[in-house]
Symmetry: C2
Subunit: 408 residues, 2 copies
């Protein structure tokens, strides 16, 4: 017999309210909200005032509460809540990707030490059950790569820019009005949000805990009208792609815009939808598509975690436990197209393998193979647009050194 | 500690050999093949002769064998093997969709009565973990529909016909040469294979056991060059779509070809790939894409079931157990485009809502809304091509009667 769980919520914004509605409209989950801790005393609330408290300890010290559902914005405060909850004998459900990405090792250790469960399906690609599938289904598959569209608001922006010929700023505004974009748009458009999700996915795909600051994220903020024109003329679109793969005993990962052919599966993933492509030795290519943002899609993922807790579900982190932990490396070469106003400091000498370039409209284009570390440098400049080539090859830098030595 | 399972295989064809290789190349699954029962004594085998037997009882009566993996063609013989295995205290893994679709109630009862597990992820859409997700992840979501491309060989054929302008027969031959098509091509091209998979999916989506003979399946064998021309001229492609949905307290289901707009997600699902779209109240639209046929993809699904058995996994059939069992009905109207040689017996009187027609090249075209029962009748004729409209509405027939009465 399933037990009826009592929930304590932290935060009652978009996802919290989505969870409240989803919980009320379904009858399969034996769980009820007991208390909700919020910060703002003056905000009017959609449910009875008795639910609310402004004291974290009203939840953390309530022995009746089995599960703490953490849905606040502030990553540091969120981690403190998670830690105290587990120490106080409660399971935790959270969707805070920044907090998780920055504290994965501690999140893992807390669960082992206190024998409690911390679940976070809602943190990666909203409604897509990717973590559960990586944990439960792909443990026997030798996964070689995981990649896809991990951020709903940038995908919404890029879709509007391409299909409705909106300007970047108009499209960003529309995404924020719909509640898709984070309160700080830089988190989305510079690729940080996608990177946090990728960091979490890497842990469950390859059993490796990478620090997010070690992963390069290149955003969409420098994409120029000339890039859009180039895409249209070549039957391409642009997507912000998060990528991680295993090659020659290393794990490589990055987030970057990429030109995508129009007949590629990722091209048909539009608006706030996300997509995850998992490639393995046996199941081969698997794609999961679903809404990556929004109150109900994320709320439903949080509810699935709560439901799983009624069956005492825990992530097993099998690949981590099996000690497959491979080293993370940024020593990799990528095929890119770089554009920038004429007169900037980039030249063909910055390329490992220069394929050509041209100039026009005051812009200069260079195409070729570049070290990831150099791309990271460029991405911090204000006027350089870095976009991966349609079929971007990922070449471990060591391998190329070997080839150079052999041919020298 | 996981136990090491001993497996007894029935059949060693495409999927069986895939399983053998997958099992050898992975190190995460504690399972080994002890015995393989095959029919053909003269066939040469890729592994040691000691593995093989021609006596079913060598497996069924071996107390050391924990799991019977049933991978033979014959559905009746397969059901006998499954039954005897469970009665003899063994778990079963099978990918035999016809057997499962025809015996779902008995398959359920056997598991309850003998407290053993029968798993069959490989039976529905090859490598896509759709059953596991329906069981584990979507139990709290109010799912309203499940549909998609459930048959790899017809999708391969339709892809080749459209993209390489091959004839239907050339494309069928190519699919058979690659091992995608069943030994009897009618199973694939007439939509039986997709229907069996749909029947199984309905049980895990809506908790209803439908007899496959109650579900209408319209195949692709009557699609004419004129249909292809119509599709090309209107930026459409054609896919064989399996569909089931919940509407007004009934479950409706069918398999039929459908015109699909080129920018729709299903249009980008090519060759032997399958796709499953799950639509729910909260998670909204979810899509799963993966290889639906082939030795390794299906072998990897079978292996995932074996792996799950090392953790004593069982399907819970939650929706069935929760007694949500809704009645299955064929009383539904669908938007279709029907084409046939001039002079056939169909007229606009056969339509509930006739939208128009034209004739040319010796063919006649009629478009409008037709009862599913009538489509089933037509689908048995040799020269009528029935294809669902691009945005086919599904209208419960009762609802339309109500509207008619109100407007009379």
């Amino acid at each position: 017999m399933k037990k009826k769980l009592k929930l304590g919520l932290f935060g009652f914004g978009c996802v919290g309210q989505g969870l409240y509605h989803v919980l009320n409209e379904t009858h399969g989950v034996k769980a009820e909200i007991k208390k909700i801790c919020v910060k703002n005393k003056s905000k009017s609330r959609i449910i009875d005032a008795n639910y609310f408290t402004y004291e974290a300890n009203d939840i953390l010290n309530d022995p009746e509460i089995d599960v703490v559902v953490e849905l606040i914005d502030d990553a540091n405060a969120a981690f403190e809540i998670v830690k105290k909850s587990v120490i106080n004998g409660k399971h935790v459900v959270t969707a805070n990707k920044k907090m998780l990405a920055e504290h994965l090792q501690e999140i893992y250790d807390l669960q082992q030490q206190y024998d409690k469960s911390i679940l976070y399906e809602g943190s990666v690609c909203g409604s897509i059950p990717i973590l559960r599938n990586l944990e439960e289904y792909y443990d026997n598959d030798l996964i070689t790569s995981i990649e896809g569209i991990f951020n709903g608001s940038t995908n919404y922006i890029l879709t509007k820019v391409f299909e409705e010929k909106k300007s970047y700023l108009e499209a960003l505004k529309a995404a924020q009005d719909l509640g898709f974009a984070e309160s700080d748009p830089a988190l989305d458009v510079k690729g940080f949000d996608a990177k946090y999700k990728l960091t979490i996915a890497i842990a469950h795909t390859f059993g490796v805990f990478v620090k997010p600051e070690n992963i390069t994220n290149i955003g969409i903020q420098n994409i120029s009208p000339v890039d859009l024109k180039y895409a249209r003329e070549n039957n391409l679109t642009i997507k912000l792609v998060a990528h991680a793969s295993k090659r020659d005993g290393n794990i490589y990962a990055f987030v970057a815009p990429q030109f995508i052919p129009l007949d590629h599966m990722l091209a048909s993933v539009r608006n706030e939808y996300n997509a995850v492509l998992v490639e393995g030795a046996f199941a081969e290519k698997q794609v999961f598509i679903g809404k990556g943002a929004g109150s109900y899609p994320t709320g439903s993922a949080v509810l699935s975690d709560i439901s799983a807790l009624t069956f005492d579900y825990r992530y097993e982190y099998k690949k981590y436990a099996q000690g497959e932990g491979l080293p993370f490396s940024n020593e990799v070469l990528l095929d890119v197209i770089v554009s920038f106003p004429e007169g900037s400091l980039i030249s063909n000498k910055d390329f490992e393998n220069f394929k050509g370039g041209y100039q026009g409209n005051g812009f200069q284009y260079l195409q070729g193979t570049v070290r990831l570390e150099k791309l990271r440098e460029w991405s911090e400049w204000d006027n350089i647009s870095v976009i991966l080539a349609p079929q971007a090859n990922l070449t471990p830098a060591n391998a190329s050194e070997k080839i150079e030595r052999l041919s020298a």
